[in-house]
Structure formats: C-alpha cells, structure tokens
Symmetry: C3
C-alpha cells in the first residue's frame, strides 16, 4: 500500500492552525506533565507561553486524583526514576479509566532496559499520541532503535513505515520527530517541515514539543489534529526564533517570547 | 471589627524597604529551600540575584542538621513527592525545635488530598509566615479553596478576611497573593500593589516570592516586616522588568538582572 | 618540595586548548551526569553549547548499564537524596569496573555528614578528577573544610598544598576552584586565572564546570589535560560573557551563547 503523505506547506497563517491555537488559548487546558527533572521548568514555561495551564504533580499519592482533573496527561520517560515510574503507571491507568487522553514520550528508550520495559507497560493503557524520534519509534514498533541517550542514530524518513505500523498496532497517533516531523494515524501521513538545528542545542525542546501536543490534545480532543497543530506551531516558532538568536541561550529566551506573542495581536505573529 | 488596611503606596525608594534590602545584602542569609523541582533553579537564581545565599539540601538525612545552620527555611509543596514530604516534616520539626524561622508555601493545596493533609500537618510546627493565593489560604483557613493546579480560582480580595483569621489561628503572618498582595498578622493588613500579569506566565514566580520572603525573614527576623519587604520589592521589580520585556522569556531574564541591580549603585534602582 | 606552578596565561587562542575543543566537538562525547536537580538543566545546556552530548539518566536500575555506554560520568553531590546516593554508588562502581573515567564534584561536603560520608565512599571507586572549592577539597584531604552550603569559607590559595596531597592520595587530578582555579596531579600545579565574580550569582555554574571537565575527559582521556582545558575555556567564556551582561540573568544567556560560538567560525571566538 503506497503511503500518501500530505505536507503542511505554509504553517502560518494556516487557517486551521490559527483556529486551533485560538481554541487552546480560550480553553487554557490543564495539562498534567509527568516528566523529567531536566526539562520540567522549560516545559512549564513553554506551556504557559503558548497559553496552556501546566501542572507538574509528581507524587504517586496524587497522580490518580489529578488524572481526573486534568484535560490531558504527558508521560515522558527522560531521566525517569523508580519512584517516577510507579507514578507514571498509576497515572496512565487512571487516565485510561476516566477517559483523560494522554501522550507518551518514550525518551531514550532502546538501549536502556528499564525504561524500554516501562514504555511497553505504559502502552497497555492506550495513549492517544506517541511522540518520539526514529530510534524511539523503531524500538516501540519492535525493531532495533539503536538509541544513544536522547539522540536518534537513525534517519527519520526510514522510520515512517514503522511509525505507521506502530500507529495501527497501538491505536495512537504517532509523531515521528526529526528535521521534518511526520504525524500519522496509520492511514494518513502528515509531514511538518520547519524547525531549526539550533533547537537540538537546547535541552528539553523535544520534551516541550510533547507538552505542547498534550496541551492541544486537551484543548481539541482530536489526536491527529492536536499532534499536527502542536508540531506545526512548534516548528514554525523554532524557525522564526532561530533567525534572531546568536546562540542557544538567546534562542531559548526568544522561543518562549515568540510562543507567547504568536497570534496574540491583530497584526499577526511576530 | 473593621479591617484597617495600610497601603504601601510608593514602593521604591521607600526608606524602610531600602534599609531592609541593604540589611539582607549585608547579612547574606543562608536560606534553605525545600521546594519543588520545577522552580528550584529559578528560586536559587532569584535569591542569588537579590543577595541571599540559597541552599537546596533535599535528603531526609540532611535536613535536620541543616535546619540548625540555615537562617530560615522555605517549605513549598509544589510537585511534592512522598520522599520530599518526609523531609519537609523533619525539617519543619527541626526548625521549630532549634528556633529557625520558616515559611510555608502550600502550593496547589485544596483539590489534592495528600498535600492538603501535609500542609495541615506542617502547620503544627508553627511557620512564621504562610504565603499563598486565595484558594490556598481559604483551604488552610478551613474553607473550600476550589484550587485548580497552581492557579487560584477565587478572587483575592474575597480572601482577606479568611487570611486574617488564618493569621490569628496559626500565629503566622499571612501573605495572600494576587494582583495586589495582602500581608497580615491578624491585626494590621498591609496591601502591596504592583507586579504585572506577565509574571503569571513564568513558572515559579510565586514560588520565588516565597523564597525572597524567607530570605528577608532570615535577615530581619521580624515576620511582618520580612513579608512586606519581600512582597514589595518583588512586585516592584516585576513591574519594572515587564516594561522592557516582549514576552515571558525575556521577562524572566530581565527580572533576575533587575533584582541584582536594584539599589546596588548610587544612582538608585534601574 | 617546592611547588612548581605553571600559569595558563593566555587562554584563547592557546594552541593546545583550541585543539582540545575541536576534539571535543568532533567526538561529541556522551557525558553521563548524575547531578543535582537545581543545576541539571543548566549543566545540560552548557554541555550542548560546548558540543558534548549530555545524558541525565537517574534511575538506580539504569546507571550500571549507562556507565558502560557513556564516555565519562559526572557525579555531583549537590542536593543529593537517598535514592540518588544509591544510584551514584552503583554508577561509580560500574564506571570503575568497565573503565569509564569519572569526575567527582563533592558539592557542599564538610558540614553535612550524609554527603561527606558518601563522598568518602565514592572515592574508593577511583575518580579520575575531583573538582571542588577550598572547603570541599580540604574536607576530602582530611581537614576541616568549614563549608557553608555550596560556598567556600576558605581562601583558595591556602588549599593548594592540601589539593596536591589529595591528588597524591587519591590518584585523581584535583581541580581547586576559586577566583583562580588550580589544577594538579600532585606534581605539577597549573593555575587557570579568569572567570568573573558574576558567575557566583548564577546557580549551578560550578556544577556546570564539573560537567565541562567530564566532557573533556570523555573526549581526551587524559585527566590533567581535560581538567585544564575545561577550566580554561570555562573561565575565559565567563570573563567574556560578563562584559556584556547587566546582571546574572543576561549573563547566563550570553554565557551559553558564547560557549556555543567560541571557536566555531574562522574569525575565531566571539
């Protein structure tokens, strides 16, 4: 079966995405992030900038209650600990039970057995969206991901077919990240170009993309649309912010500013 | 009984606050922060900028020793874990036992039972200052706070009476945060206007205010004066930094710069 | 025996250090950081900026596997927890067993018994480099460090002799930090001037220096050369970035930018 790929050619202003962003800001979705300690601050600031309401509730004693209050949940395995893993499993089970949609970011699985097993265990609770680089997606799809820390060693386009297979197996929309991101529900593949290489020089940008997608999921409900809107706005803001940044320190600051300002005034985005 | 409210109308240069800031810088109080992993880095940088000496000692095995060395302790419940809660209880007990004054920031209590119970347990160790938004203060005062994550859903001015009641019940000075902050020891109410809405778009600003108040408490001793000075300088720096910031990324950077420079040279604040 | 001290007088462009930085960027060493939650984000961004590949794998279940994959390991005791300490001991043992060189940063030991004991336990696994301020180095060398949180209360130059002794006892290269850093293998002492006082107003700069040294260790292998290159580039970048920074917020941003740009184009460093 040939893969039909749609390209989001002109990200901004793109009528559907503009509307999705407006809906997110109106909705201000409470987005529960169970995520790593490296990126937690950056993710929270990215979500606040775009207009969501992040919450980083972490205690195993609280995640079940909070899964029912949140509009969506992000579970990110970067620098996961044993205590964190226990909370993640409870959170995913509770989210599934109460119908709160959730996003799985299987950060750096492949080489490390503990988190690879955890990712497979979490899959049973049916995430609505899975976001990962080629190594991570190949690992979840049953192949050898060849992961090296958080960086993929596999070419992204080579992982589009496994990404579609994973979407079909899991029932989740899969976001395969790379120089171009690919969003697929197993049938359609949507290519989202954009972004900038300097984004890889700021820790937690990939994690923050997972957060933004989770926020759109909470606001919009539809996983394919949420994943596309999140990826497209993130990539576009990254490309724009990179133009003015002499290095990754300035880039991170300008990226947050830009996510805050994009679409906020009548003159259009910055 | 009518509430007498004093307004801090002109925050800077305000002779008492200028003197309090100079005392803090001279004193460089060792401020022990038991606080959430989202805001820990920002709080430390805010405290360094203003001139305090922050320490984020976290192990249950170390907090008792450290309560005796620190000049003050901040206990903040944001994203608290079970291990963190155990350390907090030991720290508060030790602080009370050795006479180190401490500040309670009951972040996001109300909806979540674990941390709400923890906050009530901590109250027994007699904090010198309690800082919270309307939801959090109402919850501690015995009402229904209606909390939604870290954001209050209750109007601030409606919580001034419960804040006074809480101050009387607990013996602590209460700082009720909002567009205007109110500081009360149960008798006097001091209104601290200022700040800027963009502060809510930077994660951890509320937490950092708790840290600044704890640092002033360590430097000055007097809870009412420490809470007022901390709130006033924080609000003033926030309003100033917001003038030059195109978004929350730049704001956070400029806010740290401004806290560092305020009052440091003869020309006065930036 | 008189101490022969060599000074790195002109840090940049210094042929050996330029070559070492180029080697690091070519090598992009996977640098495993077991480090405190306050500085984790900043360390990761510093390492990405300079050209290394940081990984913050934290679970006790994963650190043994990862010690074999990483090119070097950093173990930093700042805000260590009981769970973190267990992971550190396993990581150091595994690193020694498989021959992955590692760096010990005994942050804030001296006053606190738990981490002081932990640092001594870790020494048994033979770090290649130990980096600390005068208080920390004196404590490890068997003296009274008089530590107060993360800040040393002892003059740096007074600790050069104990630092040499510690290097001989432990077999590690010792980096003694202060206004001037001293790097010693027990025989030679290399003085690295530079840096800027504003660096002490940004939380985690000392921790990030440990990360940079670990990255050079992974790339170069030779501990004396790695410690010297890391300290020299860090100090030089700090001094340069301070020129343009009105405060510590801007400094941190510009420092990251500068580490990213230094030596990247033909025109030389920024």
């Amino acid at each position: 079966m040939p893969i039909e790929t749609k390209y989001v050619e002109k990200i901004w202003p793109h009528a559907e995405i503009v509307a999705d962003l407006a809906a997110l800001r109106q909705n201000r979705p409470l987005t529960h992030c169970l995520t790593n300690s490296v990126a937690r601050n950056f993710i929270a600031n990215v979500l606040l900038a775009i207009g969501a309401s992040p919450a980083m509730v972490s205690a195993e004693s609280e995640v079940v209650e909070f899964a029912a209050v949140a509009r969506s949940v992000l579970i990110n395995l970067g620098s996961v600990t044993e205590a964190g893993a226990a909370a993640m499993l409870k959170s995913a089970a509770a989210a599934q039970a109460v119908g709160t949609p959730w996003v799985l970011d299987p950060a750096a699985i492949g080489g490390l057995r503990f988190r690879t097993g955890l990712a497979h265990d979490l899959l049973r609770y049916r995430p609505s969206i899975i976001k990962g680089n080629a190594s991570e997606i190949l690992t979840l799809a049953g192949g050898d991901g060849g992961g090296k820390g958080a960086d993929s060693t596999i070419d992204t386009s080579a992982a589009v077919v496994p990404a579609r297979a994973l979407a079909r197996q899991s029932g989740a929309v899969v976001v395969l990240t790379g120089a171009t991101d690919y969003v697929t529900d197993g049938a359609t593949v949507i290519a989202v170009p954009g972004g900038h290489p300097i984004m890889a020089a700021v820790t937690g940008t990939g994690c923050a993309l997972g957060g933004v997608i989770a926020a759109f999921l909470g606001a919009l409900g539809d996983p394919l649309r949420a994943a596309t809107a999140g990826s497209a706005i993130f990539a576009d803001a990254g490309a724009r912010a990179a133009r003015f940044a002499p290095g990754p320190g300035s880039f991170a600051v300008g990226f947050i500013d830009l996510l805050y300002r994009i679409g906020r005034d009548d003159a259009g985005p910055v």
